[in-house]
């Protein structure tokens, strides 16, 4: 039977209530092997709350019951925040592309880019004689930093409490007012596995799943490793043909006889999704990604000029036993 008799997680690990937390412990040394109370660089109020003699969880009652059934003991509702300001990436920022395709962009090595050239020759200074699809690694890096900082802080809270994992994770990325500021927020329920060893390295595992869905995943032989996410950002600098196609004014320069594939925009869309998948795969290290969700936000700046942001997130899981499928379920018809 799970021990839920009002004993706090710190105490459950053998710490006395009046004991002072260790004063000088770096944040990255937190782990479930402590046998001590909250420590690290958590705010004082958070430490007081976490030292209290009751557990908290964000689980519903059915999920809570399922959690106990599989031998998980809830420890605390843990959270992580990070508010990032987005810098200026316009002209003169050093990250802006060059003023011509020959002056060189500032993409990181290996980043995606494609250049499109006008088929008409010189027409006028207003004519877009070239265009580019350009991955924006600086945007991706800023997003990744915010996301992983908030995630790391949630794990830090969990690790400080001696938790082995965090279940029912919910994350949100939202803009704070119109200030070019983005808030990253993580929330989940820290748990310990009854009688189980701490994970290697002391870093708790995490999953978006909870309740019966987590139970089914474990039963099928998949152990959660981490929630993973990545953003891919692609900027389209339209060249003349893309501009004409997207705003419908061929201006005498395009082929107006029938529908045509808008190659630059189509390729940018494909690239944003493929890059997001590539970035996530780099975090998998051979494990599997389950229950992925892909969200795409397209911002049209002017005819053909767009920014495409693709976010891919899901559960990184690892098989811990040989393939053992569930029995093929029997089809049923519900009478009600």
């Amino acid at each position: 039977m799970s021990d839920l008799s009002g004993q706090g997680p710190g105490q459950g690990q053998g710490q006395g209530q009046g004991q002072e937390p260790e004063p000088d412990v770096s944040a990255d040394s937190v782990g479930p092997d402590t046998g001590r109370g909250p420590r690290g660089d958590l705010p004082e109020a958070a430490m007081r709350r976490l030292e209290a003699t009751s557990f908290s969880s964000g689980l519903s009652v059915p999920d809570f019951a399922a959690c106990l059934d599989i031998g998980l003991q809830p420890v605390a509702l843990v959270q992580g925040f990070c508010v990032m300001q987005w810098g200026w990436y316009g002209p003169g920022s050093g990250t802006m592309r060059g003023m011509s395709p020959y002056m060189g962009g500032q993409q990181a090595p290996g980043a995606y880019s494609e250049t499109y050239r006008c088929p008409h020759g010189f027409v006028s200074n207003e004519h877009r004689s070239w265009g580019q699809n350009l991955e924006q690694p600086w945007v991706e890096e800023a997003w990744t930093k915010g996301y992983h900082t908030a995630y790391g802080r949630m794990l830090e809270e969990a690790g400080t409490l001696g938790a082995h994992g965090v279940i029912g994770v919910a994350d949100r990325v939202s803009n704070v007012a119109d200030t070019g500021t983005t808030e990253f927020h993580f929330l989940g329920t820290a748990v310990t596995v009854e009688g189980g060893p701490p994970p290697a390295g002391g870093v708790p595992w995490s999953t978006y799943l909870a309740g019966q869905r987590l139970t089914k995943s474990i039963e099928a032989g998949f152990m959660p490793i981490a929630v993973v996410a990545a953003l891919a950002s692609v900027r389209i600098w339209a060249y003349c043909m893309t501009e004409y196609y997207m705003e419908g004014s061929m201006g005498g320069w395009g082929n107006n006889s029938g529908p045509a594939l808008v190659e630059q925009v189509s390729k940018a869309h494909m690239a944003s999704r493929q890059l997001a998948r590539k970035h996530v795969r780099q975090q998998l290290a051979g494990d599997e990604l389950h229950g992925a969700t892909m969200d795409v936000v397209t911002r049209e700046l002017s005819a053909g000029d767009e920014v495409i942001d693709c976010t891919l997130r899901g559960n990184r899981v690892r098989r811990f036993k040989d393939f053992d499928p569930v029995a093929l379920p029997r089809p049923t018809v519900r009478l009600s």
């Binding site: 999920d63 919910a170 701490p198 994970p199 594939l261 869309h269 990604l289 891919l312 029995a327």
Partner: protein
């Protein structure tokens, strides 16, 4: 296991022991792996069901195409707006081709659970297809001559894993997405007719007729597309219809679904078991709902 149905009672597993086993597996660092990680947007239930039916996910795949609509096609006119329909067909074909290409790269036999997103803009039509490439698991018969054909031309289906499993059990297989779209001008009423009808409760037959005309044309195209893909019919047909938001005098009708064909000798009856639940429906809970009452929808995992 019942030899007649291929179904068996689920073995009783000690889930706490399984959890402990899982936790112990993470106690030691994982050896470095160069394996290509599998990605999938299937929910846990879908993944388990596919596994139970002998299929495994390979990769999250997508196909996106943007096709231009020539200038002036939405202006007033008569009859069908064939250039818009052609643009729609071209976008769908290109997106499906890219999706199949991605599926082929990972040696998938097909793509299930495809999310179809079609947006008709005044000057371009955007189509996005996203799904999970799958293949039969080792042990399932995958050596027949039909499988070379499956690898060369993977199926594409917007059916969920549950529907795909049921379809396969009934002896059918998806072959591809069948699409049909038609855009039609609603003819102008004469000035006299318009004036006469100003104060009447009256059917606008020009719109009704345009709707019927667009419907017939789109359904016919979808049917032709299904037959062209080698299907015998289309299941889960979805339709969208109505005036275009940017050109109220033009009616659009699109229809799509999964083209299927019978691969068994005859349809296999699934014979579901009737159940009478004694409990109320379980309240589904998402952790996202903790934030506030207005954001409780959460996402599928």
């Amino acid at each position: 296991m019942s030899p007649e149905t291929g179904l068996g009672a689920a073995p009783v597993r000690d889930i706490r022991a399984e959890m402990l086993k899982g936790a112990q597996s993470l106690a030691a660092p994982a050896p470095p792996s160069k394996e290509r990680g599998i990605t999938s947007d299937l929910s846990v239930d879908e993944a388990l069901l596919l596994h139970a039916a002998g299929w495994e996910p390979l990769d999250l795949v997508c196909g996106v195409a943007v096709v231009s609509v020539p200038v002036g096609v939405w202006n007033w006119g008569r009859g069908s707006i064939s250039l818009a329909s052609d643009a729609h067909d071209a976008a769908v074909d290109q997106a499906a081709r890219l999706l199949r290409g991605e599926c082929g790269k990972v040696h998938g036999y097909g793509v299930v659970g495809v999310r179809v997103d079609v947006t008709v803009n005044p000057h371009h039509i955007d189509v996005e297809l996203v799904g999970t490439a799958v293949r039969p698991m080792s042990g399932k018969d995958s050596s027949g001559p039909g499988n070379a054909a499956a690898l060369a031309m993977p199926f594409v289906s917007d059916l969920s894993a549950r529907d795909f499993t049921l379809l396969e059990r009934a002896g059918w297989m998806p072959v591809g997405l069948a699409f049909g779209a038609s855009f039609v001008y609603a003819p102008r009423r004469s000035a006299g007719t318009a004036m006469k009808q100003t104060r009447q409760n009256v059917e606008l037959t020009n719109y009704t007729e345009a709707m019927y005309s667009a419907r017939e044309s789109a359904m016919e195209k979808m049917q032709r597309s299904a037959l062209g893909a080698g299907g015998q019919g289309v299941v889960e047909v979805k339709v969208t219809e109505g005036p275009m938001r940017f050109a109220r005098h033009a009616i659009g009708f699109t229809a799509w679904g999964t083209a299927v064909k019978l691969v068994a000798e005859a349809h296999q009856f699934v014979q579901p078991q009737m159940v009478l639940p004694l409990d109320d429906a379980v309240v589904s809970f998402e952790a996202e709902s903790l934030r506030n009452s207005g954001q409780g929808k959460g996402r599928k995992r």
